[in-house]
């Protein structure tokens, strides 16, 4: 009955039928080829990069003016504690706490950085000075956190032996 619709098949007139059939075979072929191609070229692991600079590298002369509005921010990292130095003032050491998965808990560090950012909104640089025994994963976690807190210019120094 075609839903009560006039299919145009009755009568003597030579009107074309209203129902058109779409040929699905090439469509399915195209889909199959596209799916195969996309599965073969798919990248299942999302990889990114964290840009850091070596402390003591060349400085941009245009940044000299910016530096006047900021202070040197240094974070000493050992396997037991973190110590932030803002300008010439050293904060109390923050003991390292880990969660159940062994990841660093950086709540206190984050709160302190937010305080510094509130006082110095133009501050965008931080220098990390990790100890030799610090795990790379912990260093990356701190770099990631610093960038997330609005300090994109992260330098890593090798001061502590």
């Amino acid at each position: 009955m075609a839903g009560g619709m006039d299919l145009g098949t009755g009568g003597k007139s030579n009107r074309k039928p209203l129902d058109a059939t779409i040929n699905l075979v090439p469509f399915i072929d195209l889909m199959a080829v596209t799916i195969s191609f996309l599965i073969m070229t798919a990248v299942w692991t999302q990889i990114g990069r964290l840009q850091v600079s070596n402390s003591g590298g060349p400085t941009d002369p245009n940044q000299q003016e910016e530096k006047e509005k900021t202070v040197p921010l240094t974070l000493f990292i050992t396997d037991k504690q973190l110590q932030l130095t803002v300008g010439t003032t050293s904060d109390a050491p923050i003991p390292i706490v880990r969660d159940a998965k062994g990841r660093l808990e950086l709540t206190k560090f984050e709160a302190r950085i937010k305080e510094v950012r509130a006082q110095l909104p133009d501050q965008s640089a931080i220098t990390l000075q990790p100890e030799d025994a610090v795990k790379y994963e912990d260093l990356v976690r701190i770099i990631d956190d610093s960038i997330g807190l609005g300090l994109p210019n992260v330098s890593v120094a090798a001061a502590m032996g």
């Binding site: 699905l24 469509f27 399915i28 889909m31 199959a32 596209t34 799916i35 996309l38 599965i39 070229t41 798919a42 990248v43 692991t45 999302q46 990889i47 990114g48 990069r49 964290l50 840009q51 850091v52 600079s53 070596n54 590298g57 060349p58 950012r117 909104p121 990790p130 100890e131 030799d132 025994a133 610090v134 795990k135 790379y136 994963e137 260093l139 990356v140 976690r141 770099i143 990631d144 960038i147 997330g148 807190l149 609005g150 994109p152 890593v156 090798a158």
Partner: protein
Amino acid sequence: MAIQVPGKRFGKRLEKSKVFGHGGISKRPMFADLLITPMVDMFVIIVLFLIANFSATGEVLMMTKDIQLPEAVNVREVEMVPVVMISKDQVLVSGTVIGRVEDLARDDYLNIPSLEEKLREMKKQYEDLHSLAKDDASGFKGDVNIQGDKDIPYKIMKRVMFSCATAGYNNINFAVTTTGSLKPLEEKAANSVGQ
């Protein structure tokens, strides 16, 4: 003898077979219709999912089971630059073994001479290639990706970073596994300040 329709004729033993005997016990039709509509729907969903996850950059870093990358959120997109791989056992550049991590951890020097040499060689190759092609726009920028295992100590990383900087690769990038989306960093920073 009765005239029969041309075609395969099976013996009496198979006359009542459901498969070979025509008009056997079962009257169910032999042909099953394939439902095209749900199949096309499924294909469309798969294609859309794969296109949404498609990465035009491709696989820049070679992933191996020896290197477990650390996780990070505030990341940029990886670029095609030389890669220094640091596994739990050895340090490699472009598939060439530079040294064993155990030996490097024992030394007290800050640089790794063989790594420096290899990177200088790669830098020279890059510069020669671009000077031959008279391609001044994409000059040497000193970018290098460090693909390090998450458990290696900073002592090894420090030596690798120092060697990279000495060889002229000052823009160091740590390769990480992303747990968030690859949003522009400026946008993320603005969000964090807003909070």
